[in-house]
Structures are given as structure tokens and as C-alpha cells.
């Protein structure tokens, strides 16, 4: 069991470290880093499923007999891209949250959100916008 399954167990441990960081840490950026670790653990798990003993990369050549399975690799290529896209969106949100709340700690954001009377007011009316209704009527 240990000899044949150790890879899976280590990868599960890595997933769980990532998941722990996501849930327990209040810092939004740290959460995103944790999310990446969690996902990378899953990616490695998929790739480990496709590996064949003594196999080589699935690029067909006359000298090679055994190939590892290409399908998990394709799935993970897709998943990596989805992961970085999510990371970019999360980082964009974190920047905006920092600009409006002045912090990236989730707990502080929540307290500031609860105590600040300005929070009920739409952001653009604070900036002296307020031309929205007029725009709507043009349409």
C-alpha cells in the first residue's frame, strides 16, 4: 500500500494544506495563494493518474513503446489556465477592495463595512457622480 499509493497521499496532504490556508487565513491575498496550492495539488493528482511505469511523454516516436496517458494532461492544461484566470480576477478584486476599504484583511473589511455609515450609499454618488438617471433616460 505505501509503495504503490504514497504519491497520492502526499498530494492529498498538499491539497489539504492549501485548503487550510484558504479557510483559516483572513488575508485575501494569502487566500488566493492558498487556493493556488489547493488547485496545484489536484493537478498533480490528475497527472499521477495518467503515469505509467517506464512510460514516456505521449509524443509518438518509433523508438518508444510505452506512453503515459495523454488525457489527464489535456484536462490539466485546461485547468491550469482556468486557475490562473481565476487568480487574476481575484487579484483584481483584492486591489479594488484595498482601494475602497484600505485593507486586505477580511475581518477588517467586514468591521469597516458594518460601522461605516457611508456603506449603504452607492459608491458613485459619493464620488459626486449621480448622472446615472439622466443616462438611463437617453436610452
Amino acid at each position: 500500500m505505501i509503495a504503490t499509493h504514497y504519491v497520492y497521499w502526499v498530494l492529498f496532504a498538499i491539497m489539504m494544506i492549501g485548503l487550510y490556508v484558504v479557510i483559516s487565513h483572513g488575508n485575501l491575498l494569502k487566500k488566493l495563494i492558498g487556493l493556488s496550492i489547493f488547485q496545484v495539488g489536484v493537478f498533480l493528482f490528475y497527472i499521477s493518474l495518467g503515469k505509467v511505469r517506464g512510460g514516456s511523454a505521449p509524443i509518438i516516436s518509433p523508438t518508444v513503446q510505452t506512453y503515459s496517458h495523454p488525457l489527464p494532461q489535456v484536462l490539466i492544461l485546461t485547468a491550469i489556465v482556468v486557475g490562473v484566470a481565476t487568480l487574476a480576477v481575484g487579484l483584481g478584486l483584492a486591489v479594488r477592495i484595498f482601494e475602497t476599504y484600505g485593507t486586505v484583511e477580511e475581518d477588517e473589511v467586514i468591521t469597516r463595512s458594518a460601522t461605516d455609515p457611508a456603506d449603504g450609499v452607492p459608491e458613485d454618488s459619493l464620488n459626486g457622480g449621480g448622472g446615472d438617471a439622466a443616462q438611463g433616460d437617453e436610452a
Binding site: 491539497m15 485548503l19 484558504v22 485575501l28 487566500k31 488566493l32 487556493l35 489547493f38 488547485q39 489536484v42 493528482f45 490528475y46 493518474l49 488525457l71 489527464p72 484536462l75 485546461t78 485547468a79 482556468v82 484566470a85 481565476t86 480576477v89 481575484g90 478584486l93 483584492a94 479594488r96 477592495i97 475602497t100 476599504y101 477580511e106 473589511v109 467586514i110 463595512s113 456603506d119 449603504g120 450609499v121 452607492p122 459608491e123 458613485d124 446615472d132 438617471a133 443616462q135 438611463g136 433616460d137 437617453e138 436610452a139
Partner: protein
């Protein structure tokens, strides 16, 4: 050309999205979204007709036959969802023509329609696909564009709501991927029909049990089933109203669909409901959702938060029906998916009318306005009656079906939870009535009445709930054929 319809169902909104960006104009983007929505509706009607004529059929992407390539399946179980999603999209498009501009500047309105096209693409693709990893990809398309839409909300809290949704949603999606991985390790395939065929051979496999658990939990996040609902209230309430209307009516419904598809047609009732106690656990959670959602809704001071919490409760009703795993239960669940989508869309549309006129939907700001805005509040009350589940609205029909299914299975505790939840719903709808008619009007600055198009859409939706309450033959036949397709073992 009809053979190509399944691909067009998703390809049209997909192509419209980048075109919106190229056009760089709010009007142009709106036209494209309307076009995408109308085309999807037309195609889904055609697909529904074809399914009712000749039964389920599949479409092989790229010309590769099923397990090697990706397969799309149109059958009784996803036709109702396709219809609901595209019909709501049309309503949102017409409603959004004037509504979107009230909350967003020109540039963000253009992006709004782009993201709506993308969400539509994701939801339709998720519904129609017959390949489980492909489902994950479409799930992420719809999720990512949803995060963007929520973040467009006017209040700064929208950003935090969006971020939380992003983190929770991504964890859920990753759980789903882990589940796919475990099932793939045991069966070697990703095609849903092929999976279903091979799952039977791997009976008693513990990896498969874990796969079920991970998928149900992962999709449970997207469904917002208690206790995984934390993202929902903020996301629905802080998003721009057009977005709330679209999401509340469609996104959780599609998640519920894909959950049922995985439970019934991929893993099968024998594994999910007999070998594992999924049914009991889901029933308990559904009951908790009904009570918690309605109870919290009673204490909300903001109409949109109230509606969002009521959605949590309504998801409980749907899940209760589905987790019975009987034909009557699943059919009731589907019926409630259809009816609640229309009712909730009508509710948010009415809330949008208030937002357009008052700029706020705090209950305090609505005091005594019932007489001054009879049409708006009339819509709210009728739709509210639908949320409680009283005749003659559609809500009553589906709740009646649900109670019948529950009685059949002797789930008295769940019925009790339903009753409590309905009473609580009466409280929060009653509160709205009390605020609107029996309080002294607050001094409000009078603004122009909301655009006619928005009022028209709201009332069309409201009348639709009444119509489906009186003559439920169309939704009921769709729901019945869905239940049949799901439980009949059709892969």
C-alpha cells in the same frame, strides 16, 4: 440544419460575447445580447419539440464519436432548463434595455452585456453537455463571468461579496474536479453515458463513494444548499439589479440540474441513494434551508437581501423534492425550478422598478408607497403570494406537487419544515405589505415613473406565474418528462 441546433444553442451567445467587445457600444452590445437570448430561446423551443417527437439525441463535437470526443446530449431532463434559462435571458434583455443604464455607466453597460452573454454561454453549455469535464469548463465560464457581474454592483460591499463568491465558488469547483478525478481513476472515462455504464461494474468501490461525496459537496456550493449558502445573499443583493434578476432565476437552477444529472444518470440511484445515505442527508439539509432561509429573510431591512434569503429557502424546496429520488419528487422539484425561476425573476424585476424610482430598496424608504405606486407593489404582492405558495399562483402548484410527493414517502418532518417555512414566508411578505400600505409615507423626492418596458416585463412575468398557477399543463408535462428521463436510466 436542424442537426446543428445543439451546437448553435451555445455557439450563438458565445460568438456574441467577443462581438460586444469589438463593437464598443452600449446599444450594439444590447442588441447582440437580445439576439443571443432570442436565438437561444428559439433553438431551445425547437430542441424541445424534437425531443418530444423522437426522444433524446446526442451531438458529437468535432465529429469524434463519444468517449474519445465530447458529446452533447439533449433529452427530457435538460430541455426544461434550456427553456427556462433562455426565456429568462430574453426577459432580462428586454428589461435591461432601460434598467442597466440606471446603475452603470456606458462602458460598464457594454461589459455587462458581454458578461451576460458569457454567463448565458456557460449556463447553456453546462446544461447541454454530456461530458463531465466539459461541464466543469462551462461551470467556470459561467462562474467567472458571474463574479465580474456581481462586482459591478454600486455599493463597495459588492466587491467583498464578489471576492467571497470567487473563493467559495472556486473551492466548490475544485471539489467537483476532485470528484471527477476519482470517478475517472476508477472508470477511465469522462463521458457521462460511458461513466454510467462503467460505474455498475465497479460496485462497492470506495473511491467511487468519495467521488459522489466530493461532487455533491462541490455542486452543493454552486447550488447554495445550506450550509454552503454563505456566498448567495451578498452576491444576489449587491449585484446590479439586472444581474440579480438573471442569476436568481437561473444560476442555482442550472447547478441543481447538473447535480441531479450527476446523481441520477451518471452514478445512478443504486449508488447514490441506496449505498450512500445521500437522500437522508440532503432532506435534512433541505429542511434546514427552508427554515433558515425564510427565518433570516424576516429580519432583513433591505428588499434585495430579503429576496436573496428567500431564494435560500426556495432552493430547499427544490432539493427536498429531488432528494426523494422518486418520480413524483423529482417532477415536483423540476416544477418548482420552473415556477420559482419565473417568480423570483418577477420579484427582482419589481425591486428594480423601486430602485429606478427611489434609488434604494431599504424597507424604510418604501414606507407608505403602496398607494402611490400601485402597479409596482401589486407585482410585488402577487409574486410574494407565489413565494408563500398560495393559489392561484404557480408557487402553489409546485408546492402542492411537492407535498404530495413527500406524503407518498411519509416524510412528515420535511412537511412540517415546509409548513414552518411557508408561515415565515407569510411573515416576510406580510411585512412588505405592512410597510407599503399601513405606514406613514416617508417624504420622498418624486422622480419620473420607471420606464414602461421595465414595468411591462415585470407584469408579463407576474401574469406568467398566475397563468402557470391556473393552467400548469405546460410546466407539469416538462417536469414529468424530465423526471422520467432522469429515473428511467437514460444516460
Amino acid at each position: 440544419m436542424t442537426a446543428q441546433l445543439p451546437a448553435l444553442q451555445v455557439a450563438i451567445p458565445l460568438i456574441c460575447a467577443p462581438l460586444c467587445v469589438v463593437g464598443r457600444s452600449r446599444r450594439f452590445a444590447w442588441w447582440l445580447f437580445l439576439l443571443a437570448a432570442l436565438a437561444s430561446l428559439a433553438i431551445s423551443v425547437l430542441l424541445a419539440l424534437r425531443v418530444s417527437r423522437e426522444g433524446a439525441f446526442s451531438y458529437q463535437m468535432g465529429g469524434w464519436t463519444a468517449p474519445a470526443g465530447i458529446e452533447w446530449v439533449v433529452a427530457g431532463y435538460n430541455v426544461p432548463i434550456l427553456l427556462v434559462v433562455s426565456a429568462i435571458a430574453v426577459a432580462v434583455a428586454v428589461y435591461g434595455y432601460r434598467a442597466a443604464g440606471l446603475e452603470l455607466d456606458d462602458w460598464h453597460t457594454t461589459l455587462l452585456y458581454t458578461f451576460l452573454c458569457l454567463t448565458l454561454t456557460g449556463l447553456l453549455g453546462l446544461t447541454i453537455t454530456g461530458d463531465i469535464f466539459n461541464a466543469f469548463v462551462f461551470l467556470e465560464i459561467s462562474s467567472l463571468s458571474t463574479y465580474a457581474l456581481v462586482a459591478m454592483g454600486r455599493r463597495r460591499r459588492a466587491l467583498l461579496s464578489s471576492f467571497r463568491y470567487l473563493v467559495i465558488g472556486t473551492v466548490g469547483a475544485t471539489f467537483f474536479v476532485i470528484g471527477i478525478g476519482l470517478a475517472y481513476a476508477v472508470t477511465g472515462t469522462l463521458n457521462m453515458a460511458d461513466l454510467a455504464a462503467r460505474v455498475g461494474a465497479a460496485e462497492g468501490n470506495r473511491a467511487l463513494y468519495a467521488a459522489v461525496v466530493f461532487m455533491v459537496v462541490g455542486l452543493g456550493v454552486k447550488v447554495a444548499l445550506v450550509p454552503l449558502h454563505a456566498w448567495l445573499p451578498g452576491a444576489y443583493a449587491e449585484a446590479p439589479n439586472v444581474v440579480s434578476m438573471f442569476l436568481a432565476a437561473t444560476s442555482t437552477k442550472v447547478a441543481i440540474y447538473i447535480l441531479t444529472r450527476v446523481m441520477f444518470t451518471v452514478f445512478g440511484t443504486a449508488l447514490v441513494f441506496t449505498a450512500l445515505p445521500t437522500g437522508q442527508v440532503l432532506l435534512v439539509l433541505a429542511s434546514a434551508a427552508m427554515i433558515l432561509g425564510s427565518a433570516v429573510a424576516c429580519f432583513q431591512g433591505d428588499l434585495k437581501y430579503l429576496l436573496a434569503w428567500s431564494s435560500v429557502a426556495q432552493i430547499g424546496y427544490i432539493m427536498a423534492g429531488i432528494s426523494l429520488a422518486t418520480a413524483a419528487g423529482v417532477s415536483a422539484g423540476y416544477l418548482h425550478i420552473i415556477n420559482h425561476a419565473i417568480t423570483k425573476a418577477a420579484m427582482f424585476a419589481a425591486a428594480g422598478l423601486l430602485l429606478a424610482r427611489l434609488g434604494s430598496v431599504q424597507l424604510g424608504a418604501l414606507a407608505g408607497l403602496g398607494r402611490r405606486m400601485p402597479w409596482t407593489f401589486g407585482a410585488i404582492v402577487v409574486a410574494g403570494v407565489g413565494l408563500i405558495g398560495l393559489p392561484p399562483t404557480a408557487g402553489f402548484v409546485s408546492k402542492w406537487a411537492l407535498v404530495t410527493a413527500l406524503v407518498e414517502q411519509r416524510q412528515w418532518l420535511v412537511i412540517a419544515a415546509m409548513l414552518v417555512s411557508s408561515l415565515l414566508a407569510m411573515v416576510y411578505v406580510g411585512r412588505l405589505v405592512e410597510v407599503a400600505w399601513f405606514r406613514d409615507p416617508a417624504p420622498v423626492t418624486e422622480t419620473a415613473s420607471p420606464p414602461k418596458g421595465m414595468v411591462a416585463v415585470t407584469w408579463v412575468l407576474v401574469l406568467l406565474t398566475i397563468w402557470f398557477g391556473i393552467d400548469a399543463s405546460l410546466p407539469a408535462s416538462l417536469a414529468d418528462s424530465a423526471a422520467q428521463a432522469l429515473l428511467g436510466g437514460g444516460g
